[in-house]
Symmetry: none
Subunit: 217 residues, 2 copies
């Protein structure tokens, strides 16, 4: 089950949240100031962070900037019902916010919603500016959809799963075509060329003389 980090200085609120979420089946840990929070994030991979804005040492917004590097979903906790704070939090990349005093059921619901949203996000593979959504089979480059044929798509996937490894033509062929390689065909080359062209990968897909190809970086 998901591990949740609660960063909140008011201990009674912190405990309340912990109780509510533990009851729902989440594992919770608490930090009581921004510094401690940052420390804990560094040492353990959490599924979600509940982050108070008014915190000692490092405040929630500052900590948010730091958390962004970890790609962990965040729900802001704020005593201010002031919309400006909410907007600012959401702009910073928070996934939701909740204002004190809050409804326990609501908190539970929001935590679950955010986690669902995150797990639901289709398995994305990101490499540089290329993004492969393996469930929709949509490939984008800088957000723009690039139409790939079946073979191209599968070759791309093979490359990206084997970054920085020189792949033999034989290997590529047998993996993508699912049939033995009878040697001496230019088929693989052609598809690799098309892939390079469509995704502008002249540099990243290197040809390895007499061997095959290699996707670098």
């Amino acid at each position: 089950m998901a591990d949740i980090l609660i960063i909140e200085d008011e201990e009674n609120i912190s405990n309340l949240i912990k109780m509510a979420l533990t009851q729902t089946g989440f594992k919770c840990e608490c930090a009581f100031d921004g510094e401690q929070g940052a420390d804990m994030i560094e040492h353990k991979k959490y599924s979600l962070i509940l982050l108070d804005i008014m915190l000692p040492k490092i405040n929630g917004f500052e900590l948010m900037e730091y958390i962004k590097n970890y790609e962990i979903p965040v729900i802001f906790i704020t005593a201010k019902s002031d919309t400006i704070y909410k907007v600012r939090g959401l702009k910073l990349g928070a996934d939701d916010y909740i204002t004190k005093p809050f409804d326990i059921a609501e908190l539970q619901a929001r935590v679950e919603a955010v986690l669902r949203r995150y797990n639901m996000t289709e398995p994305h593979i990101k490499v540089g500016d290329i993004d492969i959504n393996t469930s929709s089979r949509i490939v984008t480059k800088n957000g723009e959809i690039i139409e790939l044929t079946l073979k191209e798509y599968e070759i791309l996937l093979l490359f990206i799963k084997n970054k920085n490894i020189a792949l033999y033509r034989e290997m590529i062929y047998e993996h993508v075509w699912n049939e033995p390689y009878m040697g001496d065909t230019r088929t693989v080359d052609l598809h690799v060329q098309r892939l390079r062209k469509k995704l502008d990968l002249k540099d990243k897909i290197q040809s390895v003389y007499k061997v095959g190809y290699r996707y670098v970086e």
Copy 2:
């Protein structure tokens, strides 16, 4: 969709609520004092009532006693953030309360939460301008009923439950027909075509070459 009755004497607040909820897809009607509210409740079955406490003629608490007989969920609206009022309201059988000034998104969320709790929300699935009522199996597009055959309906449901996922023909067939896919049939294609035509989904149902189909957005 759910009918909501807003009983609130301040017309600008009333309108704000109405706008917010209409936008979310609810039908709203307004009463401006307790007497009018009671009258409307008597003449129509509402799914939910938003009830202000401070009302002319009959106040919210008194009206609450009356509403109890109708088993309609109630959310209190109160200017007083005073806990005593909240407790009193909830004890009377309100399902939730919200204090003025409130956040529109919060109001929408609470209304939906309460309706969900009461299972008042009919099993609707909405996607774009298409609305599927899974209990009546009625499909509408922009409010207009579209007659779908069984297979079409089930394929549509499959698509909509798997938005943005490329579905293999095999998968579609086995899910809808409940029997193994022996390959090499155009059956699925044909039904998908018919679905596209009836619901004008040429763009949204995309064919994934050599794979199957994908419903986008």
